[in-house]
């Protein structure tokens, strides 16, 4: 088996269908998009100029970066806690943590987004309960704003943040933690000054993955943002499907792809691809 796969020709043949598919379904159409960005409505760099000067486009970019940053911090922090339990907890805790990590994967992104609408809307469960116990008199605006988008996206992305963290925690030498305790360090101190720094590559990997995913999010922000907190992907959709502004949509796409590409390059300097699954 080993000799078979190390054979370069064999490996190339096995990968060929995937490469052909990616070429035909992604690379080729993307060149078309790049082409539009320079030619529609007329040849030139006009659309990139608009991108730099249009306040609407810029505010969407800023909002996207802001939401992505918040979602990244919250998701990685929450994922870190779950992963500690999953990797280092008692057998019973591990089962519970694993359940919490895997179940979201089996539920469609649409279902989850609408689920959050049902929970967070003005007449949703949270507001009803909070009013029922007299905690608030007017419903809180929890959805169709950035808060809703952040909640929905964080929920979706936590499991993705878990895997790089788990891989770095699993690779950690237990004796180093024992050594810290033996040298007089409390559990808290051992966690913060030994455990966390030793999982640094996992934290970076997980943060970059969540950030990259957040930048291109479409369904969740579209539903939970209710058109009021538009992110880049939704803006591209609007430019291409709801206005004849294909050139600008294409230019935004190109910028997004380049930005994500740069982040991915950064990501793979810190983590090996197999750590991500």
């Amino acid at each position: 088996m080993k000799a078979y796969f190390s054979d370069r020709m064999g490996a190339a043949l096995l990968m060929a269908p995937l490469l052909l598919f990616l070429g035909a379904a992604y690379a080729w159409p993307f060149f078309g998009v790049v082409n539009w960005s320079f030619t529609l409505p007329e040849p030139g760099l006009g659309q990139y100029g608009t991108l730099l000067s249009d306040p609407l486009v810029q505010s969407v970019f800023v909002r996207t970066l802001r939401i992505a940053a918040i979602v990244t911090i919250v998701s990685v922090a929450a994922a870190y806690a779950i992963t500690v339990v999953w990797v280092r907890g008692t057998p019973a805790q591990r089962v519970v943590a694993e359940f919490c990590i895997l179940v979201p994967f089996w539920i469609s992104v649409l279902t989850r987004a609408f689920g959050w609408v049902a929970l967070l809307s003005n007449r949703g469960l949270f507001n009803t309960w909070l009013q029922a116990i007299g905690f608030i008199s007017e419903p809180l605006t929890l959805v169709r704003n950035e808060f809703g988008v952040i909640v929905g996206m964080t929920h979706f992305l936590i499991p993705f943040a878990v895997f790089p963290l788990a891989s770095s925690m699993r690779g950690l030498d237990d004796r180093v933690l024992l050594a810290a305790r033996g040298l007089g360090s409390s559990r808290m101190r051992t966690f913060w000054s030994v455990f966390v720094p030793m999982t640094r590559s996992g934290i970076i990997g997980s943060a970059l993955i969540v950030f990259v995913f957040s930048l291109g999010f479409f369904v969740t922000p579209a539903i939970l943002g209710g058109g009021r907190s538009v992110m880049i992907a939704e803006l591209i959709y609007l430019r291409i499907f709801q206005s004849p502004d294909w050139g600008l949509g294409a230019a935004i796409s190109v910028v997004l792809v380049l930005f994500v590409g740069a982040l991915m390059a950064l990501l793979f300097r810190y983590v090996r691809p197999k750590q991500l699954i």
Binding site: D173, R175, V176, L178, A179, A180, R181, G182, L183, G184, S185, S186, R187, R189, S193, V194, P197, M198, R200
Partner: protein
Amino acid sequence: MQQPGRAAEIKAIGIGKSFGSFRALDDLTLDIGRGEFLTLLGPSGSGKTTFLMILAGFIQPTDGRLYSDGVDITERPAEQRAAGMVFQGYALFPHMSVEANIAFPLKVRKRSSDEIKRRVGEMIERVGLKGHEKKLPSQLSGGQQQRVALARALVFEPGVLLLDEPFSALDKGLRGQMQAEMKRLHQETGTTFVFVTHDQSEALALSSRVAIFNHGKLLQVGAPDEVYDRPANRFVAEFLGEINMLPLKGVRNADNGATGLCEDRTISLRGNASAVGSNAILAIRPEYMSIAPEAAAGENGIAATAVASTYLGAATRLDLTTRQGAKVTVSVPNEVAASALSKGNSVWLTWPAEKGFLLPDGGQ
């Protein structure tokens, strides 16, 4: 709590540890003296590491009590025991520089930054790591990492230093060097050292006392020459080095020890016949046996034929068979081995009476 800079005295009474139905350690009672260098020796799974982990506080014993300087520390958590510990594979903090690794136990103890700086500097000097302060552990050789681990474990002047097979990853030359270094550190600090190893020569070379473990039991404790020359049982005798064992019949006490019959010759040896019964084993280390053309009457000796030799450089190891088929190994000067082999017939193996000792027949 041990006083900083003062060697601890440890008393283990009836310590036992079970993992499920597996008895890792059974009824261990042992006093570790102030400032002594005690080695826990045994094959893997013998319970020596379990005992070390119990001393460190990483494992709770199922039975027994543990005292340090007269204070019961059985339930005291590891971080409050403040024993210095050097792990197998060193367990350095990979994200911290040499300096930060060594400073860690002092920082945890909230010492002033002046004191930390001074003590870390002294320690780095003492273990010969000057010029490497800012390096990460991954940039150091195995021997250097070992020095960092020792420095980190000693910098806060613990009452006891626990070492778990610290040299197992080093090559032979470096190992000898580090052993000498550790002996020097032991003398300089005066701290109680408890050292785990499965290497008998390391144990004999380093320690003031050796404790030999097997199957979760402590078999014997004593000074290196004591356990080597007067092992309490067959396991200890065999574990500490090569040994020749010959069946001995009609064992009885004599004026100065015991006598018995080995292949029809009367042999005198050390030991107490009443402790082993009339059939026992005569044990002699190979280096105490010599080859002679004849054995004088009244001298200890048996006839044997040389069957094979292994050239060892300084000496030759000779394998012989006695008339009744027992196998004996001796280590003799090279020319003696050559002449013994060339004769092709019987030679005599002789040894001084005080070098032979009695072991119970069969079993342990």
